[in-house]
Symmetry: D2
Subunit: 289 residues, 4 copies
């Protein structure tokens, strides 16, 4: 794969990315590569750059580099996955599960990646939709998770879960998470879900603060069709949210349908990248703990 | 204790209480007791009843009877605790932890209670306040819990906890629960908190979906002063809520202070009431499970 | 598939199976099927039956019927899996996850199964071995789980986990469970592991009472090679156990290697069998809880 | 309090304590204090020391210093608590919850403590006994916990719990922990129990790997009388163990009775000792996690 056109997406309104962005632009200019800047970078760079909208960026780029954290990758992933553009993340701030190129020495990593020396990790995503009275009112992709959640404090929501059309159970909880392996180390982990190895073809269904004490996380096949039927919400206002970034209010009777997206997301990592090493670092696992 | 004036508080706008309310009014009239109806009962009874505001009801009643669920008792408790009025709960709907008099045979229970044959359970409550720039902007009592929580989905909140002025830790979580023994079987239990026996002089501090994987519930003395210092909330909107019923938005730097309320709440139960029996029934504990 | 020879394995020394065994023998005799009885049935039946050892039974049977509980199926599975003999379980006692034919009406179920009207569920098993100084000292199959565990109370064990030759982490815990989807609803569930849907190609790695508070269950691909390297056990005596039935003591430096067994186990269920229905019944999930 | 006679108890057969023991003996000799050495120190010191048995040591000492870890303090506590002798722990190896004097600079801490400048922490202990057919067959004290546990892998035990003579529930689990606040950060924490603040007058009841999914830790008053009635153990061999150090096999029908010991244990800490600081260090809580 030849990377001629590089798209850049940054953490929006984040002054912290300014320096890294300037260095990256200089680096890519020096490599004589064509660069497309996402609108998120507007105002964060002085140079005379080509700024395009996200759809254009996705269509024309051979590679997208994000500057930010895992959230920036999540945001980028949802908009470029349909175009089969691979993604590299320069990580500002805390170490990320997804963004693993260090900002102070991105040149070493990018030299290798641009030369074709990289580890390719394919991650599957989810497609979520909300159906009401037979109509699809909302749809969105998600790389990490699709979360149904009450928006007001200390309220529970009643819901039914179905897998491949089969009734699983009724639960009362603060919410419910449908997570990919990628998302299993994010919100789902805080809610008591298991870690799904990044390459596993599986989806985790994790209740949030279940009132039903015998509720447990359930892991199903990646090609399962998951439906959450919203029950009586009482005074609660419930919402479905993809990757913590795009939301839609749901009401009694709505069906939230989640299934694997056909197109995969491709992440490129510098050689030497180790899934378990990042896991150990992020979860503070070490021999002496 | 002589119960001459009986206050009645019902689940607001709840048509389901109508029948029980009518029967209760007839029963009390027959006993020739003075009855004060809370404004929550307005429109739910045909009879020519004395309807007073909550403050009046609290001051003048010798006993308050609620019709509804545990939520109705929580609501009543916060308004009558200062006046030392005991509380009895007629339970509509699911079995309650607090409201334990059955609606279809409340006469048996009330005959005994009005005759002085009852079990008296004193429960302590919490006083919560929010301080910003040295001023108290919000204060409320709580029988179950004081909860700090983000209102928007999939956002975490940074906060520091102090006990008796001493730094305990910094955490990142969806929220944090300060629960009495009474509240330990409510929201705190769904969030992984322990059950505190109703008579224990202790408060449970329970993180909600902690990002910090080594976070654990902490139980402190009932007379501890608990402070939660709200950290950088990022894009999250955080709120403090007492008993799931009264809320206040908090911002970075706010101090949520929680301590035991001096006045105790007195619940009256019919003879034979058993704490562990209710626990077993509510949590579905039985020999064959 | 034609079922001409039926093998029968029962719960050993279990008088409770006597009646069902007698009825089953009469039923099969009436069907004019050849019957082989496992040595476990010796002394539990009066009739003049052909009793064979397990290896013979596995080789010659077209179908094996167990009478007992899930433990009897686990025991049978380990000895017949290599011969591709399908298994049906008549359940005595508590409802089983695996043994689902009721003893008081097994005729209805067996009529259908023998006529070829059944649901076929293929479950993968694990092969475990213990290697010390390059030699394999122990090996066993398991349908539910391979468990490393300290045998004496309140002692921890240090160990390292590797997946596909890669270091995952060091942990200190009471033990460690490697569970199939079949075993995910058994011991692994009590230890905080997730439920893996029966058809999922995945293995759950679940620490038992981890001293390391950030330890979490990890789910890996079914074809992963899992190695547990036993660390300093101090005063603890550690053991590896397959399906809770066959054990071997391990010492510092031993490598417990676990991987998927090539041969699958085939369970036959009567038509109408529902995985989620059994899950709901076993875990006491219902709408009102 | 004047500390004239100092008892010393060390980690048994632990060569690692030799150096610290030599330094401590020299230090105390220099202070012209009378020193009694426990039999655990036999063979670990060259000097001509007075070695006494534990009962003598407990009776004659004004202060006991342990060299080892928390286990050494647990061991010492059970033997000296009846004599009201305070305890100081020099910590070898990992930081301890109880033993907090560093071995490489114990002089600074002991100078202050011997001069009366210390923090005094009173910790309550438990008294456990096993009753069979009306006879007490075993009794022991415990500073951390009384644990009932199956000794063989993957076996469960049935048992009933009573608090103050009242039936709480029946459970099936790997075991059950009765923990003091001191013990709440030890084994009980690994089993999902809450942290009880060191000064709390409460006892935590924590099931180990409960088969009953709705089982939860229960916290009761420190003066509660807890009874565990051992049920049908099937093929499991069950044991009761105090502080992980002294054990007794129990059988179906045995009653394990646990209650607070009247005598308190007194720990002396150097000035500046902070409970929460040790908690943060031991549990790896910090701002960036």
């Amino acid at each position: 794969m030849q990377f001629n056109t590089i798209g850049i997406i940054v953490k929006p309104e984040a002054v912290v990315v300014t320096d890294t962005l300037a260095h990256l632009l200089a680096y890519l200019k020096n490599k004589k590569l064509r660069v497309l800047l996402d609108e998120s970078a507007q105002g964060l760079c002085q140079q005379n750059q080509t700024i395009v909208n996200r759809a254009q960026l996705a269509k024309q780029s051979d590679l997208v580099i994000t500057i930010g954290g895992d959230g920036t990758i999540l945001n980028a992933a949802r908009s470029i996955a349909d175009e089969d553009v691979p993604l590299v993340g320069i990580n500002i701030g805390r170490l990320g599960f997804l963004a693993d190129v260090p900002p102070n020495d991105f040149e070493t990593a990018l030299d290798k990646i641009l030369a074709g020396d990289y580890l390719k990790a394919e991650r599957f995503m989810l497609s979520a939709s909300v159906q009401r009275d037979g109509k699809t009112l909302f749809s969105s992709d998600a790389l990490n998770d699709v979360v149904m959640h009450v928006r007001n404090v200390a309220r529970m929501i009643d819901f039914e879960t179905r897998v491949d059309g089969k009734h699983v159970n009724h639960q009362r909880a603060d919410g419910f998470i449908v997570a990919t392996p990628t998302g299993s180390t994010a919100y789902a982990l805080s809610s008591g879900g298991p870690i799904l190895h990044a390459g596993l073809q599986a989806i985790a269904l994790v209740p949030i603060c279940p009132h039903t004490l015998s509720s447990r996380p359930l892991v199903v096949k990646a090609d399962a069709v998951i439906e959450i039927i919203v029950g009586d919400t009482g005074q609660a206002i419930a919402q479905v949210t993809c990757d913590g970034q795009t939301s839609f209010d749901v009401i009694h009777g709505d069906v939230i349908k989640v299934q694997r997206k056909t197109k995969l997301l491709t992440l490129l990592h510098p050689p030497g990248h180790s899934y378990f090493e990042i896991l150990r670092a992020k979860l503070h696992w070490n021999k002496n703990s």
